[in-house]
């Protein structure tokens, strides 16, 4: 495995050149709102201080593509109910452990005695099932199309190997309905999109065409290194300047326009669309999530275990929904930085490393404010 590939996408001189060209393209006085759909982009933007390189005309709006953030509290309660069963080993990605539910987080459930284990992949969970034949191992499957294929492949492998002490609590969501919901939302005017590079490796670039065709907004599917994001912004601005609205692929070193047919096939074999699914803050969105097909009922934790399955309203003060839609910035949330902090989060956006609030809080905006202090706003 090559370990050196990342540095060439972080070169300071290239970044400065791209930034200068972006500044030149931006029309003075015009306010550009470009949404980066994916939480991975949000994280990279804050981690590398990308906004420090952008001219004041350009605002990056953080989108809904944070898989941990969008899981509603009711599903988290269901997860904890499963995890607290004595026969269950509950496996999950690390970020999910700290998400607050009605009665604490999975980490709290673990400290009360639940057997909750962090894994990096569903295949790790399957391995735990093989090693613990007298226990039942549940994997908390979350994520957009990026992680769905590995869940699907794990399921196929569990069936092929006849592993019966393993099941999935499926919470996979799909990105297109969420983008539609945002475009339909009257309170947000966007100029263009940085498209989700990892999702596009699976579904390709074609599903994003409706944004360019029906909404006349440029979409540039982009990678996750800071130079990828800068180039994505550059390409969106070029389209705007030339009056184009197309789906372009900045991340062509990884993304094919047709996506990954093998991954899509594995998803189709194992999962089907839910009629509707609740997203934290965004409410119910029809056909926006996946469940296991009936022929996989023996591996479906929702079939095997009784869960409360009730809809739980978010804490009143929490504005994760508006943050996820890009309607408000993290700092505009009423509880941001006061009642809601990374140490004691109220909402999911403050927990996940891909959440806009956590990124904003942890990485700060120091250079940005220094720049604003040094260059007083034009009168």
């Amino acid at each position: 495995m090559s370990m050196r590939f990342v540095d060439e996408y972080r070169a300071g001189d290239v970044a400065k050149r791209l930034a200068a060209e972006i500044a030149e393209m931006a029309e003075p006085g015009r306010h550009y709102k470009i949404m980066e759909v994916c939480g991975g982009h949000t994280h990279s933007i804050y981690q590398h201080g990308v906004e420090d390189l952008l001219p004041p005309e350009i605002e990056l709006v953080h989108g809904p593509g944070c898989p941990v953030c969008v899981i509603p509290m009711g599903r988290q309660d269901d997860a904890i109910a499963i995890a607290e069963r004595p026969e269950v080993i509950f496996t999950t990605f690390g970020d999910m452990m700290r998400i607050p539910a009605s009665n604490g987080s999975l980490l709290d459930a673990k400290s009360r005695g639940a057997d909750v284990r962090m894994v990096y992949s569903p295949l790790d969970a399957l391995k735990i099932a093989r090693e613990n034949p007298d226990r039942h191992v549940v994997f908390f499957a979350i994520g957009f199309e990026t992680t769905t294929p590995s869940t699907a492949v794990t399921l196929l492998r569990a069936r092929a190997e006849g592993i019966r002490n393993f099941s999935l609590f499926a919470n996979h969501v799909t990105i297109i309905p969420a983008i539609r919901a945002i475009l339909d939302s009257p309170d947000l005017r966007l100029d263009g999109f940085i498209g989700p590079g990892h999702v596009a490796t699976v579904i390709g670039t074609r599903p994003f065409r409706f944004i360019a065709r029906d909404w006349q907004r440029p979409v540039v599917v982009s990678g996750f290194e800071p130079l990828d994001v800068l180039q994505g912004v550059h390409m969106v601005l070029s389209q705007l300047r030339e009056g184009r609205s197309e789906v372009e692929n900045q991340y062509s070193r990884v993304v094919r326009d047709g996506g990954n047919p093998a991954a899509m096939k594995a998803i189709g074999e194992t999962m089907e669309l839910r009629t509707t699914f609740e997203w934290r803050g965004l409410g119910f969105i029809s056909q926006s999530a996946l469940k296991l097909r009936p022929e996989f009922a023996d591996w479906d934790a929702e079939v095997l275990f009784e869960v409360p399955g009730v809809r739980v309203a978010d804490p009143k003060a929490c504005q994760c929904g508006e943050v996820l839609k890009g309607v408000i910035k993290p700092w505009e949330c009423k509880v941001f930085g006061t009642a809601c902090t990374p140490e004691h989060p109220i909402g999911t956006c403050m927990v996940s490393s891909e959440g806009a609030c956590a990124a904003y809080y942890n990485y700060g905006r120091h250079a940005g404010r220094r720049r604003r202090e040094e260059e007083p706003a034009p009168a």
């Binding site: 590398h48 201080g49 990308v50 700290r98 990096y120 250079a367």
Partner: protein, 365 residues
Amino acid sequence: MSTRPARTEEDVLDAIERRRRRPVRKLLDERITLSHGAGGKASHTLVEALFLAELRNPLLEPLGDSAVFEAGAGGPRLAFSTDSYVVHPLFFPGGDIGELAVNGTVNDIAMSGARPLHLSAGFIIEEGFPIADLQRVVASMGAAAREAGVAIVTGDTKVVERGKADGLYINTAGVGIIEHDLDLSPKTVCPGDRVIVSGTIGDHGTAVMIARGNLELEVDLESDSAPLAGLVGDLLAAAGDGVRCLRDPTRGGLATVLAELALETELSIVIDEPALPVLPAVHGSCEILGLYPLYIANEGKLAAIVAPEAADAALAALRSHPLGQDAAIVAEVREEPPGLVLLETAIGGSRVVDMLAGDPLPRIC
């Protein structure tokens, strides 16, 4: 409609910075979670709100790597420290729990500028643990002690029922003697000082993580576990009172020790990201796992805050020692913004580096 004036972004950023500078040390949790052991914010809250509150005394209060006191009025200054080791797995590339238990405590003592003398060792062993493994661990402790020039002079053994401990836990404590008049303390840190790290960061934590074998990453990487007293001796000989203070960036990594120093000194520390020495294998593994080497534990590295005029001599002294060949100046102390660590990124951006709220890698040492 509320008539309360809306907060501006500046208000919110100011409030966060105030909170960062003066963290709320109130223990709100009802039970211990793994976060309390991670070395980040939850650990600090536990230590300050519970341990320090109950056990407060002038020697404990600075919460340094070791306590420094005079052995009787006018007697020699001694450094005293303790640490427990729960690393999983017990054996990993580049070391094992025994070597770690010696080096970790030796290094805590060395950071106060002391020459480590004697250690104690306490073993908590699970019923059923293989004697051969225990033999291996203790032999490795013996070898590490000889290398570090210390003797393990007292000890204790406890055995608990199967299932009550994960194989083996070790506690060590140690004393060292301070044989110079230097005052190594954050109080001496000034704006303009440089931060030198003695080598590549994040090696130990990444190596242990990969050794757990549940990642299926094939990476050639060893823990950096090593005794640092010799390196400290060379550094102090070369740079003398140009050395302000030393830190041992173990749990929580370099980011956490610098965040602690910034808070304690009420100064700013600005890290130059491209200057950070990171092995390609550590960089790549961390990228894949979504971790950041600045937060990953080291077991054979030190961070030295040195006066600007002593920086070159200090760097040369570190680089001429086998354990300091990759030493680099990675950060500078500034006046503004007080209490914060900033990182200037490779692409020319900048961001805050804070302590972590959660635990990226439990049981790394």
